[in-house]
Amino acid sequence: MEDHFSSIRFLLISALIVMVGVIITSMVGMGIQEESKGMAKPTLLFLWLFTSTGKLFSFVQFIGFFGPLIGIFLGFDSINRERVSRTLTKLVSQPIYRDSIINAKFLSGVTVIAIVLVAIVLIISGLGIRLIGVVPGAEEVWRLVIYLIISVLYISFWLGISILFSVTFKSTATSALASLAIWIFFSFFVSLGAGFLADAMAPISQSSTGIDPELIIKHEQVQRITSLFSPMTLYGNATNTILDPMRKTTQSLILMGPLERLSLSRFQNPLPLIQSLFIVVPYLISIVAITVLCFGICYLVFMRQEVRTI
């Protein structure tokens, strides 16, 4: 763990995230200040800090997109760097169990992720309180805590992926590139691919006189199910529900004009915390499952490797 905190790499990435976080908050915070002038305080205003998109993107979107990079940066050379510098032979010839090496690598990574995320959320909250002058209520704090848990798990999944590659590939460059390739694949191509697949399985022709509503629903379903294969979608859906309790649905299919769309896609009153949790639990379980699966594979591969090849 000492490794992580003292490395230049880690400093760079956390500085980047803190910076972006602060910039987004100040923009969003000022926006909220303007909008809410002369209005009664809306419910759960504090969470807006994290979810409103401001001029660019919201903090939540930012973490969903760049969070994986933290995981990858922390893990991609964890095992094969020790192999290259031949310290792995030394570690396995000390009186410790071999699995404690890989467990320590993973757990220290998770700890670092948790510390970074908690710190950023606290910084943003502090800034937010100063800017909009609203103190978070108990429910908002709980929602943020759940958000943090989901985020730590999500980034841990990426840590697991990158450790897996560092176990299987001998060269640190290869494992870094492989992890980045997976990241790009999930962030861009799965959603693109979902669109293509949906078009192929349930093509919607705009030229025909009437559009068959069932076809549209099928189209939408295919697209949704496919995109659920991406951890980004899982994470996005889960965090949106938790942090934006006014949101009615995790789907985007609404067949009406913009005004009705707005009124339909949002509740009049926020969803209670417990109800939001119910919606989130399946997503949460999926994220935990893929994280555990990923770490399990890399544990097995590491334990079965011949020392000769180490």
């Binding site: 510098s85 031949r86 310290t87 030394k90 570690l91 396995v92 000390q94 009186p95 410790i96």
Partner: protein, 250 residues
């Protein structure tokens, strides 16, 4: 009191796929002995060491190190055995003390004890003047000496050295050999030394074993092997002559 048997191997065999790396190895090594393990590259010396340490599972046969089975009970073996691998690795961004401290902690040696030990062994291997430097700046010889210090920090009963003098200058080699000799004589440590620098092995080893293509073709004190192979009349012999004779026969 009868000397304690430290290493006991019986019918030890290791196969990689169809290739036999170590074939039916049987040997016994007693406490305080300096044993030289000779053989050409790829003869199975390192594989044997890895099996002794419990880092590789033997295909068949039995090993006992200090009475423990390294396959079943690797932690007990690793606790009491020091190992200097052929190309020893360190954390290059730490200095010598930090590297040794890390290993000491992995061995659950309290910092109070390890602080003294670390300085003692660093002085013995002659690295105390360079102790502030990062290990990344060390030369090959210095790394080798640091490796010895690292293997000694846990004050093992048995120490495996894989090519310990490679990369050392003549003075460093002499000091290393003297150190190994004194460890065995003064501390009653058992030393298992794998090497192909025959004149050095001849200087310090009580007994040698010669391994060729996975088979242990000879084992015993150097004089005995000389008598057997070179004849009784020969007074001046070198280990190299004996070794070459075995090598040509195999």
């Amino acid at each position: 009191m009868e000397e304690q048997i430290i290493i006991e191997a019986e019918g030890l065999t290791k196969k990689y796929d169809s290739q036999i790396a170590v074939n039916n190895l049987t040997l016994r090594i007693q406490q305080g002995e300096v044993f030289g393990f000779l053989g050409p590259n790829g003869a199975g010396k390192t594989t044997t060491l890895l099996m002794f340490l419990g880092l590789t599972e033997p295909t068949s046969g039995k090993v006992r190190i200090l009475g423990f089975d390294p396959t079943r009970d690797p932690l007990h073996v690793k606790e009491k055995v020091g190992f200097l691998p052929e190309n020893v690795g360190f954390y290059d961004d730490m200095d010598a003390r930090q590297n040794l401290r890390y290993v000491a902690r992995l061995n659950r040696i309290p910092d109070k004890i390890s602080t003294q030990r670390i300085d003692h062994w660093l002085e013995t291997v002659g690295l105390l003047e360079e102790v502030e430097k990062k290990v990344g700046t060390y030369s090959k010889g210095m790394r080798q000496r640091l490796g010895i210090a690292e293997a000694l920090v846990k004050e093992p009963k048995l120490i495996f050295l894989d090519e310990p003098t490679i990369g050392l200058d003549p003075d460093g080699t002499n000091r290393m050999l003297d150190l190994i000799h004194s460890l065995s004589r003064e501390k009653n440590m058992t030393i298992f030394l794998s090497s192909h620098l025959l004149d050095q092995v001849q200087r310090i080893c009580d007994r040698v074993g010669i391994m060729i293509k996975g088979d242990l073709v000879a084992i015993g004190p150097i004089e005995e092997l000389a008598k057997k192979k070179l004849g009784l009349d020969k007074e001046h012999y070198t280990l190299e002559e004996i070794y070459m004779k075995y090598f040509k026969e195999a």
